[in-house]
């Protein structure tokens, strides 16, 4: 069983749940920007939760199946169609040998996850099939899909049924204005109290520079720094620090003007101060934000972050139970 790529879409890559363990050497975890959507897609087609799928960004690919397949699409609202017949999202459906799976325009969200029963079978590199394009690592030859690529699909353990569906209540919708919860910290003391308050009270917009490495934001006022003599080795700009490791989800603001949230393909370190870190429960949502989408940052404490994480874990447990 294989998938022939007729059209690749804008930026479609093979992703699973990533390759932790090498961040200290500059290799980021990679993996689906939206873990929940990836897990749901896999469960719908009877795969293991962390099997490799296709992550299609802003635009869907056109794919021909060489054999009968069961497919599910989750995440962004980008309606799939088989030979022109519309298929539901968050639901498994059949694609017959030789048929073409294509996608309608993106309506909501940013990334669709396309799981195929058996999982995408590219070589495992450092424990994962995820693509890390900046390092030309993993996935299909370390890059996004191109026309005429052929992807192998693994064998399915048992016969898989089409027509399984994620209950409406368990499909996460992207709100009109996203609220990203942030634990302030790291180097937040570098900006004035007023600047910090401004950061959390303004509405920002996703910039066009928004990809798997990081999401940039515009629209808020520049942040004012607390004056200091720069420490040796930090660099002369007040937003510079001695180069350090960047947490996933950390928010750096070079020059105090445009915040950048690092995501799954993060650059692992650098010399810009960080104001805080998006909590783990809200990382998936970032991957579903389109350029120009309005966003507010909400300061929370560790207890709130952990409560939100428990809630996300419970929703995941409910999803598993509903698809058993």
């Amino acid at each position: 069983m294989a998938i022939e790529v007729i059209k690749p879409g804008l930026a479609t890559t093979v992703q699973d749940l990533g390759r932790p363990g090498y961040y200290h050497l500059g290799i980021p975890e990679s993996g689906a920007m939206d873990h929940y959507a990836l897990r749901a897609a896999n469960l719908l087609v009877g795969n293991a939760e962390g099997d490799a799928v296709l992550e299609a960004t802003f635009q869907g690919p056109e794919l021909r199946m060489t054999e009968n397949a069961v497919v599910a699409v989750t995440g962004a609202e980008m309606q799939p169609g088989v030979e022109g017949v519309a298929q539901p999202i968050w639901t498994s459906f059949a694609v017959k040998a030789g048929q073409v799976l294509a996608f309608d325009f993106l309506k909501r969200g940013a990334r669709a996850y396309v799981a195929v029963a058996g999982g995408i079978d590219v070589p495992v590199v450092l424990g994962s099939r995820s693509t890390y394009a900046l390092g030309a690592l993993g996935g299909l030859e370390g890059r996004a899909l191109r026309a005429a690529d052929v992807l192998a699909v693994g064998k399915t353990a048992a016969a898989v049924k089409a027509g399984r569906s994620v209950p409406e209540a368990l499909r996460r919708a992207v709100p009109a204005t996203a609220e990203l919860r942030v634990l302030p910290g790291l180097y937040d003391f570098r900006v004035t109290k007023a600047a910090l308050e401004g950061f959390f009270s303004e509405t920002w917009r996703v910039a066009t520079e928004a990809d798997r490495i990081g999401y940039r934001f515009r629209g808020g006022r520049p942040l004012e720094f607390v004056p200091r003599k720069q420490p040796f080795g930090a660099g002369s700009d007040p937003s510079n620090i001695v180069d350090t490791c960047y947490p996933y989800g950390s928010i750096q603001i070079p020059g105090g003007s445009e915040p950048i949230i690092l995501h799954r393909d993060a650059v692992s370190g650098g010399g810009y101060f960080m104001i805080g870190t998006v909590i783990s429960a809200d990382m998936d949502l970032i991957g579903q934000l389109q350029p120009h989408a309005p966003v507010r940052f909400v300061a929370v404490d560790m207890e709130t972050a952990l409560a939100a994480r428990r809630e996300a874990n419970q929703r995941m447990a409910a999803l598993r139970a509903s698809l058993q």
């Binding site: 050497l25 900046l134 690592l137 634990l183 040796f232 930090a234 350090t244 874990n313």
Partner: protein, 291 residues
């Protein structure tokens, strides 16, 4: 030095050993990161030493953030008495300084530079009070460098030269980052050097290029077959100037699978370094002769 801890969301804890860069702070970050690794704290998935800090990633479902913090504080107290000694490697990196490829690239990005009428080397020599580009190259290649961190992108080593602060080479980064840097460029920004492991954007001043790949995701290069990345934090680097002919010869050897980096296992003592930096460095570099 004053240790400061801060949580990076609910999955990271950040430990800063010092606000400013020094070999002590870097050494301390590295040895604490090592102590954490050896103590096998549950729930920790990433241990990342950096220049004057380190960071852990953890699973708060496995270990509560406050418990992890308490464990780290205990590890820090226990490690204070440890002798600052590191068993590591010294690796020789051949460099073609003032090469045609970084020169071509820097000429394309002159409008992003502080001194558009000079090359990066000329500029760095001038602002460091050195008489000539050759004097800068001699200083760059004379004393060894400590790999203070590996990252930004896969396999990129950040380097801190093992000399007194007054002798550190310091240069600002480009005014605006370049959109292109040749792969294997030897760069410098602030007080730190680096070797660009892949081609791409960059803001460091460009001094030269090495023919010796340091990252190979395909693991086809002979000495990167076991692991795709050459450098680890704590490695020591010695640059050796080479000309065009030797650059081409090494490139050919790499291609034909005949090249092996010159490297030796050494023990580095921070106290011995402070007592006599020149003698300590000479001893480290000598180890390369035995290679």
């Amino acid at each position: 030095m004053k240790t400061r801890m801060s949580f990076g969301g609910d999955e990271h804890i950040f430990v800063e050993l010092d606000e400013e860069m020094s070999l002590e702070a870097c050494f301390r970050a590295l040895s604490l990161a090592k102590a954490v690794r050896e103590s096998r704290v549950s729930g920790v998935s990433e241990i990342c030493p950096a220049n004057a800090s380190f960071q852990l990633r953890f699973d708060p479902d496995e270990i509560a953030p406050r418990d992890l913090r308490a464990e780290l504080e205990a590890i820090e107290r226990a490690s204070e008495a440890a002798e600052p000694v590191l068993k590591t490697r010294i690796v020789e990196v051949p460099v073609f300084y003032n090469d045609p490829w970084t020169h071509e690239t820097l000429m394309r990005f002159r409008e992003r530079h502080q001194a558009p009428d000079m090359t990066d080397l000329e500029y760095a020599a001038r602002i460091n009070g050195l008489a000539s580009v050759d004097a800068l190259i001699a200083a760059h290649a004379a004393a060894p460098w400590f790999v203070s961190m590996v990252g930004f992108v896969a396999g990129l080593p950040w380097l801190y030269q093992m000399v007194e602060r007054s002798r550190q080479i310091e240069v600002p980064k480009y005014l605006r980052p370049r959109t292109d840097t040749p792969r294997l460029t030897v760069g410098h920004g602030g007080c730190l050097g680096c070797i660009y492991s892949v081609r791409g954007a960059g803001g460091y001043q460009m001094f030269g290029i090495t023919p010796m790949p340091i990252y190979d995701p395909r693991q086809a290069i002979s000495y990167l077959r076991d692991f795709m990345i050459l450098f680890n934090p704590g490695d020591i680097v010695k640059f050796r100037p080479v000309g065009r002919e030797e650059y081409d010869a090494i490139s050919r050897e790499v291609q034909e699978g005949r090249f092996n980096p010159r490297l030796s296992h050494v023990t580095f003592s921070l106290d011995a370094f402070h007592a006599d930096p020149a003698a300590s460095n000479a001893k480290l570099v000598e180890a390369l002769d035995g290679h």
